[in-house]
Symmetry: C2
Subunit: 401 residues, 2 copies
């Protein structure tokens, strides 16, 4: 009998992820890909990591290669607790922090401890497809709240909270994936006030928060204000994604405790070597200066892409103007499907992620996610030019000129 | 409201793992602990790893720190496919291999793709408690087959297979955890023959297979013979557990495909740095010679523990005589509970793992798991002497002299 006949209810309907398929196409070196969400490899401090690796092998010795604590390297958890204590004024300790194998692992563990089949999760509309992939495994129901230019639609938020018994809410308030949008300070305050009146746990994903090109970093909605919340942090965007080091921090130690038990059952603990490497790197280098270098690079790339879109995209196509992060969200004219654009784009050797997988059950959306961090400026211009032609052609096919 | 009130059905009943609690006690440096399953840190090739780390940073450059493939580093998967091709004669390719964050992650992913609440998993009696921890999350039913000196009880095996519709069967045929027992060649052939007549997937966990002090390594039951099977391998016992590098290999590429999708939803991929480090280490060092050094060390320690048990344990206490691995399984006289022995052992500053957590719903068993790999010989003798006194005292309390 085939494996297919044995699959669990949760896995039987699963098909290879859309993004996995697109990324596969995008590995063709002759294609200009804006599809991935890859940091620019120029931003990896390779030589500094090498110095740290040598130093930690000498410093820790065999302990670096032995089994470790499920929650992660204590000194690293202390470092992270301290960082967030400074930001929030809350006296966090290492017991508020769990190290995970990239934020993706947190997205897998959180529904595991909360969700029975059919339980409700509230998400932004649109939201991160990798979160759907993780959550879907636990067969939840979803409710969505529209994401606008300045943040969540507050009326909808109040409505879904008052009419559901949601277990948790998943938000990406800064440089959101896929839209690049950031909640305004005012919107954050109002979202916080509404959440404080309901018994729902807030999961605030913040992978891009430090990649801010302009303006001031806003406060978290939850951490520092709502005990019933956590922040997911990661070093994938500001140091190295290949190391797969992320973390969960929450004022609620009981939450961290249960999440740690789920982590223990999942993989005992994350790799220690890279935790020690990152900690050593962070302590011995000017990380804020490094992040500033990355953001300057990305700012130039983002602006090059926006300028090229202004120049090459036909009238009627609009896009977000992010102040940080890695993505621009493009809106095609009403009725033009980005899924149908794929073949025309591929014919011109250029690729993007169509909007559909960021929505739940919506098809032929007129949205596209564009990543600008992993291509140089001439390539960005050339790719956007080609994509403009593809869009023009698709619009013509739809009877739009 | 407390987190407790929100927990999923699968997590509401979970209590901190027995082993986590015991290991916590065992970190007290004044206690002689035979409780863990830690390799001897003397066995970690620290300097060789350092050489490899420097070499791979130079060789791979930034690619070492970028996102990678979910299934793992291709060259590493090819290396592992090749190793098992040589052992089995089956022409495996990298597509037969998935890299995981230690074997524990495989124990989490496999039930995820197979098990609906209530579906049956067949396990040895007793079996590895970390596997129960992982499997329990998916709320399966269990059926057990007794493990005897020469392997599985064949009559029971035929009986549970013929009367259940089990999704998979989990076995640790070499130097089993907790018993240290190894299935005989004859038992393996018979188990294979029985399994070939049923539609059940075989998960063969082999973390200790290379740690053989004497005799010849037996063939796998499944891999190389039954398509409907996989082997879980790990570098935790022969190189470094802290790196958390394990793998799953199966002739059934469809199985690997589904497992890879579950892995993607779990953590995108495992850390690349340590995969590259291990591959470089394996290619540039005499790994069989290194493993032989480890097994010589462990053999001495195992024999020291068995000799001390002969000398210090009271009559009526028996134990297994493993030819490899990391554990000895002790049987106290009928009616003497190893759980009740804990306080007496702790009073003498010595610790072990009682048998109960290796059984499903059996309490006050007269079994104990003893690890011998992480203590030097004088410490082993002293610890066994103290434990002998504790056992004598408990036996007296039970009216046995």
């Amino acid at each position: 009998m085939s494996i297919k006949d044995k699959l669990s209810e949760a896995y039987a309907p699963v098909v290879p992820s859309f993004i996995a398929q697109i990324l596969k196409v995008a590995t063709d070196p002759t294609i200009i890909s804006f599809a991935g969400g890859l940091p620019n490899p120029m931003s990896f401090p390779v030589e500094d990591f090498k110095v740290s690796l040598n130093r930690i092998v000498d410093e820790y010795g065999p302990a670096l290669f032995q089994y470790g604590n499920t929650a992660g390297l204590k000194a690293f958890r202390e470092y992270l607790a301290d960082k967030h204590s400074k930001e929030t004024g809350i006296p966090f300790t290492y017991e508020n922090v769990l190290i995970v194998t990239g934020s993706q692992q947190a997205l897998d563990l959180i529904p595991r401890i909360f969700i029975n089949k059919g339980d409700t999760i509230i998400v932004e509309r649109p939201s991160y497809l990798g979160a759907f992939q993780a959550f879907d495994q636990y067969q939840p129901s979803y409710l969505t709240v529209d994401l606008n230019e300045d943040g969540l639609d507050l009326e909808q938020l109040e409505q879904v909270l008052s009419t559901s018994n949601a277990k948790f809410m998943y938000l990406i308030p800064s440089f959101q994936n896929p839209t690049g949008l950031t909640y305004s300070d005012e919107n954050r305050v109002k979202v916080r006030e509404i959440l404080s009146r309901y018994d729902v746990f807030l999961v605030e994903d913040d992978p891009y928060g430090d990649l801010r090109y302009e303006g001031k970093k806003p406060e978290n909605i939850g951490l520092g204000h709502l005990k019933n919340s956590c922040v997911l942090g990661t070093f994938s965007k500001v140091a190295t994604p290949g190391a797969r080091v992320g973390y969960v921090i929450s004022e609620d130690k009981e939450f961290i405790h249960y999440l740690t038990m789920a982590k223990e059952a999942s993989d005992l603990h994350s790799n220690i070597l890279v935790q020690a490497m990152l900690l050593d790197y962070l302590k011995n280098n000017d990380q804020p200066a490094h992040v500033q270098k990355i953001t300057e690079l990305y700012k130039t790339q983002a602006h090059a892409m926006m300028d090229a879109m202004d120049e090459f995209f036909p009238d009627g196509v609009t896009f977000t103007h992010p102040q940080g992060g890695m993505f621009i969200w493009v809106t095609l004219p009403e009725g033009v499907s980005s899924i149908k654009l794929i073949d025309r784009a591929l014919a011109r050797k250029v690729m993007f992620v169509p909007g559909d997988p960021f929505y739940l059950g919506e098809h032929d959306t007129n949205k596209m996610r564009m990543n600008f961090t992993n291509a140089d400026i001439p390539t960005i211009r050339e790719g956007i030019k080609r994509l403009g032609e593809a869009i023009r052609e698709e619009m013509a096919a739809c009877g739009l000129e």
